[in-house]
């Protein structure tokens, strides 16, 4: 399988670092080399943050890259900042709940996801990040969806109530959107 370099970006608190960790952990469980590298400011919430995940079959050199194959962007600042960094023929997954513009580059595959609305329908708007992750995995099939679901379960194990269930449903909704747009 080809190597994958993906940036996930948005506001602090939207759960970008979390979905990056889930994706990398799932890929590791699939037997691949992974690295997850966060970048954030001092704020707990509201600042911008992003992480880069690299998945490869070979040992990974730099965990930080200037150009990426894919981007998941969850706010306006992030699409402005990271659209130009995606390699030609790359992928960009856009959270239309907070981003009101289209992708400007014609050489990218663009997937539009109303992540907050979908997550709300499944039980909580907090799962918008998981919807985005689902859409990305649905398009790329970079890791097996079952492995991601396993990583989601592990992440939310021990949380109160049905949080894990809600997130699994959010992932599957996102996955369906991704899969449809891939076909």
């Amino acid at each position: 399988m080809a190597s994958e370099e993906i940036v996930m970006a948005g506001f602090g608190g939207q759960g970008l670092l979390a979905i990056g960790k889930i994706l990398a952990k799932a890929a590791m469980e699939d037997g691949r080399e992974v690295t997850w590298m966060p970048s954030y400011g001092p704020e707990m919430r509201g600042g911008t943050c992003n992480c880069i995940v690299i998945i490869d079959d070979e040992p990974i050199g730099s965990p930080v890259v200037q150009k990426v194959r894919s981007a998941i962007v969850m706010n306006k600042q992030s699409i402005d900042k990271f659209e130009p960094t995606v390699l030609p023929n790359g992928l960009i997954v856009v959270n239309t709940s907070l981003i009101d513009r289209k992708v400007q580059r014609a050489d990218l595959k663009s997937v539009y996801v109303p992540a907050t609305e979908i997550a709300e329908k499944e039980g909580t708007s907090k799962a918008a990040n998981i919807v985005m992750l689902g859409a990305y995995v649905g398009v790329t099939k970079i890791v097996k969806p079952e492995t991601v679901e396993h990583a989601i379960e592990a992440t939310f194990a021990g949380k109160r109530g049905s949080v894990g269930e809600v997130n699994l449903r959010a992932f599957r909704k996102g996955f369906d959107i991704g899969q449809q747009s891939a076909s």
Binding site: K21, A24, K25, M28, E33, V34, T35, W36, M37, P38, S39, Y40, G41, P42, I60, G61, S62, P63, V64, Q66
Partner: protein, 388 residues
């Protein structure tokens, strides 16, 4: 000897460098830690504070880094292996007690997860600006050992190595991480306890009446006495004789401080630890460490793709500086290129040891992010052209 299985979390894990360093410390037998949490090293303190009490160890959150850096030395003299953890501003506060550890030959480990400085600088972003401070930060003349891991796996491995070196040479050992290495999350394999090599303390075999705390043998390192076994012990930051008693004259100073320096300098080749790749026939050798070594790999590949013969040397033990090997390389290659997240620290050492035989090209970066690999590649290509 093998590690105590109580502290060894055998298996495959998905850990950031900070958590991996914590596990390395526990596997090495660390059972005491003191700290004053500071970004970007907080995860180490969080984890060790939760883990230590469950294995009969102890963590104390102190009022500041000055206190943290002396508390761990108390634990060492009480018989424990001990750790403290900090970042930039906290590392500055620890300098006085790093000198005390060097003077009293207290085997202990300091982890500094480097961030952008000086002062408060960039708390959440990487730097490599504390490299010279690790070597020279306290007053007076002394030697320490410092290591630079490049990945979470190596944070685990080098923290064990740090504890072993501290016990063997009786110096404070620094693990000089950086924010990227501390926060990047990757696969970490922790072997079973019997596969890990862990050094015990150099306990004296002498009887209480015969033992003098600072008598040394051929390797210039004194043995330690177990608290409570009846040995007489006197430990002071003042210049002292073999009994540990203060002696205020130049002869005692020459004997003691010369030995503190020589025990590391004369054994530097034994302590050295580095990795090399494609050195034979290299026009340019890139010397780097920590996160910058990972980033430089891309720059090296770009330069190789353009036909430049590039070798690499990655420093794992940075202090003592591997003079012998770099002197040899200066005879083999035609230029050194040294990228680092500062405006020239380890590059000064490379330049000193190269002694004008070949040029040393610094690729500086103030920190806050890592190098653009293209910039490193350009420096390599330019260096190759200027010497061909």
């Amino acid at each position: 000897m093998a590690a105590d299985p109580t502290g060894v979390l055998t298996g495959q894990h998905y850990l950031d460098g900070n958590h991996a360093a914590c596990e390395g410390a526990l596997a090495a037998g660390c059972r005491f830690a003191s700290g004053y949490p500071i970004t970007p090293s907080t995860e180490i303190v969080e984890r060790i504070a939760a883990r230590l009490p469950r294995m009969g160890g102890m963590f104390i959150q102190m009022e500041d880094e000055i206190a943290a850096s002396i508390t761990l030395q108390g634990a060492v003299w009480g018989g424990k292996k001990a750790l403290t953890v900090t970042s930039g501003p906290g590392f500055s506060l620890m300098m006085e007690h790093i000198g005390l550890a060097a003077m009293t030959e207290c085997p202990c480990v300091f982890i500094d997860v480097q961030r952008g400085g000086p002062s408060t600088g960039l708390p959440t972003l990487p730097g490599q600006g504390d490299m010279m401070q690790a070597r020279w930060g306290s007053h007076g003349d002394y030697e320490i050992i410092a290591l630079c891991p490049e990945s979470p796996q190596e944070c685990f491995d080098t923290t064990i190595e740090a504890f072993n070196l501290a016990e063997q040479w009786r110096v404070p050992v620094m693990v000089m991480m950086d924010e990227c290495v501390g926060h990047m999350t990757e696969r970490v394999i922790i072997p079973s306890a019997d596969k890990l090599s862990v050094l015990d303390r150099r306990w004296t075999t002498k009887k209480p009446g015969e033992y003098r705390p600072f008598d040394v043998g051929a390797d210039l390192v004194p043995d330690m006495a177990k608290a409570g076994d009846g040995h007489r012990l006197f430990v002071t930051g003042l210049t002292h004789d073999e009994r540990g008693y203060p002696v205020m004259n130049h002869k005692a100073q020459e004997k003691l401080v010369r030995r503190l320096v020589d025990k590391i300098r004369l054994n530097a080749d034994k302590i050295a630890h580095y990795e090399e790749d494609q050195i034979d026939g290299a026009e340019v050798v890139v010397i780097s460490y920590g996160i910058t070594a990972r980033v430089a790999q891309r720059g090296v590949q770009i330069a190789r793709d353009k036909g430049v013969k590039v070798g690499t040397m990655r420093l794992i033990v940075v202090w003592p500086f591997p003079e012998t090997r770099i002197r040899e390389l200066a005879q083999k290659t035609r230029a050194f290129v040294v990228p680092e997240l500062n405006y020239g620290q380890m590059s000064l050492e490379v330049e000193r040891v190269a002694a004008g035989k070949v040029p040393t090209v610094l690729v500086p970066h103030g920190g806050g992010e890592v190098h653009d690999p293209e910039v490193i590649a350009e420096a390599i290509i330019k260096a190759a052209r200027s010497v061909s």
